[in-house]
């Protein structure tokens, strides 16, 4: 009876051992999976780090460009100021030119008037061919060839 009891105990022990062994294997398997996840997370972290590094570089470059842009904007602002002065001078010059053109136009009107008035004077006509010169001497007596005006 004691042997049977001992055998039962042994069987229970063996079963327990088998069961524990299974759990251990399962635990090991799970631990292995966790390792893979941990590795993935590590890789992702590394990639993120790389990207952050790239982003930082980009930001540095951007900062430099903004700095250049700032200096350009400053230069452009000063150039614009210069242009404004130039345009002011140009406007003044145009006003002077416009006034000169008006004076010139008035002067040209006077010159034109003077020239026009001089054309009003009657000038005796110059020599031009007569009809007889063009047609030849008349052959009939009914020629009515006239004279030049003023003759």
């Amino acid at each position: 009876m004691a042997k049977i009891q001992r055998l039962k105990t042994l069987i229970v022990l063996i079963m327990t051992t088998i069961s524990v062994s299974g759990c251990m294997r399962e635990t090991n398997d799970r631990l292995g999976g966790m390792d893979e996840n941990t590795q993935l997370v590590a890789k992702q972290t590394e990639l993120m780090n790389n990207q952050m590094e790239l982003l930082n570089r980009e930001l540095e470059l951007l900062a430099k460009e903004i700095q250049i842009l700032n200096s350009n904007t400053g230069r452009m602002a000063s150039q614009l100021e210069g242009y404004q002065d130039f345009i002011r001078v140009l406007t003044e010059e145009f006003q002077k030119i416009s006034k000169t053109a008006q004076n010139l136009d008035a002067l040209s009107q006077q010159v034109l008037l003077l020239i026009g008035k001089s054309l009003e004077e009657k000038v005796p006509p110059g020599k031009t061919p007569d009809l007889d010169d063009l047609l030849g001497a008349p052959q009939v007596a009914d020629d009515k060839t006239g004279k030049t005006k003023g003759e």
């Binding site: 040209s108 009107q109 010159v111 034109l112 008037l113 003077l114 020239i115 026009g116 008035k117 001089s118 054309l119 009003e120 004077e121 009657k122 000038v123 005796p124 006509p125 110059g126 020599k127 031009t128 061919p129 007569d130 009809l131 063009l134 047609l135 008349p138 009914d142 020629d143 009515k144 060839t145 006239g146 030049t148 005006k149 003023g150």
Partner: protein
């Protein structure tokens, strides 16, 4: 490419001739015979335009008004090929002095053949056309038409006149005339540069306007001479 276009435009501009056309319809108090006697009295044409001036208002006030005798007919000579009577045929020389120029070589002149044909006792047609076989200057085309018909009913015992004139100037000759005017102005205004004078002449002398106003006024003077 641009220069070719400019060249073509210049050539086209040089070849351009000014066309002038005038037309008029009206009644006059005279019979067809009286009108006919006046229209074939070509030798007196040159006296009709005395005092015709071209009003040029330069600056829209009285001081700027110039009265240029733009064109003066200095010769109108005729040779009849038929005895002047009812139907007539004649060659007529017309010579015009432009802008008081003394150089006769640049005067517009042309010989035309003028013909009048009586359609009935109270109606005739008269036409003049330039004869290109004779030397012409200034004008390359001149064509006038006059139809006269007595209309006792509608024209108060007078006649109805239907008149039209078409003339075409020769642009190269017009340029030469302007050059002659400039030369003569140069004698009076030696101080002014030639291009300024030429610019003034170009501004003053517009052949199309001058010919049109001259021949319109000439026709009015001829109408006034009917009696």
């Amino acid at each position: 490419m641009k220069s070719i276009i400019i060249l073509i435009a210049l050539l086209a501009g040089q070849a351009r001739a000014a066309d002038v056309s005038i037309s008029n319809n009206r009644c006059v108090l005279y019979n067809a015979d009286t009108v006919h006697k006046r229209i074939v009295d070509y030798d007196s044409y040159k006296d009709l335009d005395d005092g015709i001036v071209f009003d040029l208002n330069l600056n829209a006030n009285a001081n700027g008004l110039i009265k240029i005798p733009a064109i003066d007919m200095v010769k109108s000579q005729s040779r009849f090929e038929t005895v002047p009577g009812r139907n007539t045929l004649a060659k007529v020389l017309v010579t015009l002095q432009p802008m008081n120029v003394s150089d006769g070589s640049v005067y517009p002149r042309f010989v035309m053949q003028c013909q009048s044909t009586w359609v009935s006792d109270t109606s005739f047609n008269h036409q003049c056309d330039i004869l290109p076989q004779y030397p012409t200057y200034g004008l390359v085309g001149f064509s006038s038409r006059l139809s006269v018909i007595e209309k006792p009913g509608s024209c108060a015992n007078g006649s109805h006149l239907d008149y039209s004139l078409l003339l075409r100037s020769e642009s190269s000759h017009i340029t030469a005339i302007k050059g002659a005017v400039t030369q003569e102005l140069k004698k009076k205004f030696a101080i002014l540069p030639a291009n300024v004078l030429r610019g003034a002449v170009d501004r003053l002398f517009d052949e199309e306007t001058f010919f049109k106003s001259y021949y319109t006024e000439f026709y009015n003077r001829w109408l006034s001479s009917l009696r």
